[in-house]
């Protein structure tokens, strides 16, 4: 992979006894938006922070723009831009001052005025950081990540904690960067986000990549199936739901039965018949189109959220 901007092979990191990352491998090509999707604590942030040169790995091979973050952290930092999780700026630093300050740290940088305009922060140029709303802070964080016109961008949970409307604003910004063919590695635990923004996604769980591919590929891998979620009055007999006509897979997740099917009407009819015969009752039923959530459930037996 000569044009891979990011290469990660068998990356390992532990904190004391806790294995945060246990053999993560993936690579990101020039101009690609790559997502690490997984629940909180899956090791996404640790992985990203190792690539950014903020943490040292305990094992594995890592290259970012050809640099080993452990050896060439300083050169590397001129090539990357990042919006971090759980970070902040000094309360009494003004928006424009922050952009100018950080622009000055790099060998080459973009015009802070242009970034201010592009991220809709012109009116806030003289506002203290502490007076910004959550969305404005996040837009500033993204603007600051771009200030050195980096070869690769790292967005760690770019929409975490933001309300839906602000989240959509951030999506627009990332989609625009995607159209400009920026190389982006982002982490998220939102399925819609990964499906909408990423060219390729690696689903991460317990410090490992469990599956990797474009959102479409992944959904097809899970059979392209519709998901039917039902709650029942009495527990279903083990394995019987799986054998119903039209149902390709059935499993129990947190007290809900999740059935996969390519023919939803047939599956529902046979389910209802089966329940009548068993003397069981349907409490609720939901139908969802195929998503990465199904892939996650299929691979781990758990839901992505909660």
């Amino acid at each position: 992979m000569p044009d891979a901007v990011l290469q990660v092979d068998n990356l390992v990191k532990h904190y004391g006894d806790v294995q945060a990352v246990r053999g993560v491998s993936f690579s990101v090509n020039e101009g690609e938006v790559f997502g690490l999707l997984g629940p909180n604590g899956a090791g996404k942030t640790t992985t990203v922070e190792i690539l950014e040169g903020l943490r040292n790995p305990d094992g594995g091979y890592v290259r970012v723009c050809g640099f080993d973050p452990q050896v060439s952290a300083r050169e590397l930092k001129h090539e990357i831009g990042a919006s971090l999780q759980s970070t902040s700026l000094p309360d009494k630093l003004r928006v424009m001052e922050a952009l100018r300050l950080f622009a000055g740290f790099y060998k080459r940088h973009r015009d802070p005025e242009e970034l201010l305009k592009r991220f809709g922060l012109e009116e806030k140029r003289n506002t203290y950081y502490s007076k910004l709303s959550g969305g404005q802070k996040q837009r500033l964080a993204l603007a600051m990540a771009l200030v050195n016109n980096p070869r690769v961008l790292f967005f760690d949970e770019p929409t975490a904690g933001l309300d839906p409307q602000v989240r959509r604003e951030i999506y627009d910004i990332i989609e625009e960067l995607r159209r400009e063919k920026k190389t982006i590695l982002m982490t998220t635990h939102y399925i819609e986000e990964a499906e909408r923004l990423c060219d390729r996604v690696a689903i991460v769980d317990h410090g490992k990549v469990i599956v990797c591919g474009s959102p479409r590929e992944l959904k097809q891998r899970s059979g392209g199936n519709t998901r039917i979620e039902v709650k029942l009055a009495k527990p279903a007999t083990n394995g019987t739901l799986k054998n119903l006509e039209g149902v390709t897979d059935a499993r129990e997740v947190d007290g809900t039965y999740v059935l996969h099917t390519q023919r939803p009407p047939q599956a529902i009819v046979s389910l209802v018949k089966h329940l009548e015969a068993e003397g069981n009752e349907l409490i609720s039923l939901e139908i969802a189109t195929p998503s990465l959530e199904d892939v996650f459930i299929e691979m781990t037996g758990r839901r992505l959220r909660d």
């Binding site: 950014e52 040169g53 903020l54 300083r74 930092k77 001129h78 990357i80 990042a82 971090l84 759980s86 970070t87 902040s88 700026l89 000094p90 009494k92 630093l93 001052e97 300050l101 950080f102 000055g104 740290f105 790099y106 600051m144």
Partner: protein, 315 residues
Amino acid sequence: MRNFVSLTRMRIQLALRNRMFFFFSVIFPLGMFFLYAGIFAKGNPRVVSFFLGPVIALNVMGSFWGLSAMLVTFREQGILRRFHVSPVTATDMLASSIFANYLLTLPTVFIELLFARLIFHVTNLGDLVSLFVLVTVGTVSFASLGLVVASVTNTMQETQVLNQLIWLPLIFLSGATLPIAYLPKVAQSVAVFLPATYLVTGLQGAMYSSFPVWKLLTQILALALWTILTFFVAAQLFRWEPESKIPRSAKLWVLATALPFFLLGVWENKNGQILAQAQAAYRSLDRPSTSEQPKSDSPSMGNLPKSKKDSQPQQ
């Protein structure tokens, strides 16, 4: 170098926008100035001149509070992380904090000198070169100490406790509050182990006794060596991440930085040059003299101080 300059500018901007900064760096030192000059010295120009050293020493030493608190806040709020992902280095971060602090200390020292001259009619402010050199090494060294404290503590609470533990002996045993010659003998032999004592006696020597730099070399070199050592330790222990905790035993590093003063203290206890200077200055306070301030360090023996109301014969 460019990063150092822009970070220094940022620190100064932030400090000037911070009300706490004004209180601790301007109002509080000036309050101490009027307390010492107006009440302890009763406005007597010669005694005011004697107390200028301690007053400026307190001002200079105060740098270590502000810096430790600031660095810990920056780390706890994840501000340092943001800088870490840019090309800024730990040395940029630490050196700019110290330098900004130094630049912010100078105006207050200047105001104190101006007030001494204009309000309390102190005609001879002493050797200004010595004063400048001592204010410089003093601010920089105590600021570095603040950075070591910030680096060996994990939370703001710990930082404040450690600050108090360091601060109290430094101000009470160094001559910054009570003149060192006035302290009991035991306290005096402890005092020569403390960096603050060298700052206070140095500043007093510069301002009251008008000692040129070469007469204050012990103090200046000791503080300069200490600066290098504390800065090195601070840079080694520096942490960007709030969750990277440091073991309790690391607090011993604070003691390690005191090593030069341990050696100096042993030496001083044998030779007693610093104490002799301080005692001479103290005794000369009630030596009848013209408006000229004493230029000599040769003590005139046998006179007990009468110029201070609260002084009791101790030695």
